[in-house]
Subunit: 337 residues, 2 copies
Amino acid sequence: MKQVAEQAGVSISTVSHVVNKSPDARIGDEARSRVEAAVQELGYRPNPIAKNLVKGRSNLIGLVSDSIASTPFAGQIVHGAQDEAWKRGFVLLIANTEGNAEVEAQAITMMRGYNVRGILYSTWNHRGTRLPAGLADVDRVLVNCFAEGEPAPAVVPDELGGGLEAARMLLAAGHRRLAFINTTSPSPAREGRLAGLRAALREVGAAESDLLVLDARPEQEGGYAAAEEVVRWGATGVFCHNDRVAMGLYDALRERGMRIPEEVSIVGFDNQEVIAGHLRPPLSTVALPHYELGVRGIRALLGLEPVPPTGVLTVPCPPVPRDSVAPPGSASPRAAA
Amino acid sequence: MKQVAEQAGVSISTVSHVVNKSPDARIGDEARSRVEAAVQELGYRPNPIAKNLVKGRSNLIGLVSDSIASTPFAGQIVHGAQDEAWKRGFVLLIANTEGNAEVEAQAITMMRGYNVRGILYSTWNHRGTRLPAGLADVDRVLVNCFAEGEPAPAVVPDELGGGLEAARMLLAAGHRRLAFINTTSPSPAREGRLAGLRAALREVGAAESDLLVLDARPEQEGGYAAAEEVVRWGATGVFCHNDRVAMGLYDALRERGMRIPEEVSIVGFDNQEVIAGHLRPPLSTVALPHYELGVRGIRALLGLEPVPPTGVLTVPCPPVPRDSVAPPGSASPRAAA
């Protein structure tokens, strides 16, 4: 800036007014032209570090993620957060901790050192967590997790609503003999989706005695292993804890020569991109709103979105109907024979 | 720092020496204790922005990615880059452009404004690209892509070597009647994997006339649709352009009552986490080394890894043998009947 001022023959503050387009400054047209020419010639770029240091603020927002790579989900949170941050003139400073507490503490210290506007703290799976010490006295929003014990604003998926939507797809097609292959891991997803399923049964007055609930490993292998009990139970509609479980169930039912959806209708959860739409038949499922969680997290941090008094904002999990649900007993006589 | 100096009754430069642990400074034990007590009491944190501004450098490295969310792959590049950057005392400033040229230009300007040590420019799929204007005069390394026209250091997967490894798995089991379901999209992956397959045929003196090469959409639907021609050709071993294609081929062969690997052996590519190890049988494949690309990109940027005179460093794609390859004709007589 000093060089620009010297070359243009003006003061440094004049350069600053021109470069920063200060609305109140009275700069003559000629001086302005000389500054602009010098800026061009010297390739001067305003330095946001210096600017932030002077103004005591930055256009950075920190995003601490416990896993950016292990699942496609964390990437969607980053994507949504970044789109919304850019829209508001902010840039994300991202740190991936892979759950390492030391890396996490360092990342938060570093972000605070860069004077971030605030910090989003996100986890790849929806869960309760302890608020890291470094986030106690800074603007922060938890994304896909919530603070246990202490209050902190949080944005999480509506697991109960998602379970309700999943079950409604089966019930609306007429299924009453149902199985739910849930996960073995205690989590808001496990409890919430089951509660949603039960609420859906109550909506239509269906008997809980016609529901089989199983716990299985939340991967293809879990769905495959659960098939035997599901078939023995005579379920015509199966809600799977996630799309990977549904994929394993598809394999097991096909090995038994059973057709989907004619003999068994199946609904998944997650809407996992590389799987759900590409099974045969394409899987009806419920989407986890990770992109939206990132967007809402930024909005809550910037005060653009009110967080309810509970401190927790829930984001809907929308149904994604495809071709794995049909009315019960829709197998043709030839196939059933 | 001024407040710390006042409270401790020392000069600002003494505070600086103590805080920065300057090796050459001679500070009395008593003054040092007073400074440390004041730092503690006032909760002083050194400000890296101010420090960088003074020293004219930062501990930031920029990472521009064209897609962090659309595939699980970009996340692995970020993960590898971040692990290596942290190890070297650097932090990643990540921008996700989703291929938007304006966002990309803004991101690069912003990163340069923050005085980054250098910039990694990465793409989710391996391809040639034009070097963005903002990267012309800054330390930069391309990751998973290479500059067309102008020279720039690049780190990319060894597609040819990967194709060689994939084909060797089938050839080593004794297969000679082969099919390759390649992709329809022209790319280094398409050309490289085919060249590797041909090199593998030459290694064992196999005839090219026993190889069927098909182009298909690089998703499950492409593999499913290709099955008919593969079966008509009588291939006993099939190399698929990626794991998603292999998954579609599995579905189509099973519908025909054919068994994998007893009747048809299959090899994929990518080692896509949510699919490859969870098919029935688990898929033998070749891994795309995205994590390693991120690590090597940082190392090349920091001058810790020599980049060959071609400007392009290739990273091996290692084979991941599982259970989808067996010798031809290993179906039991009962099953064949």
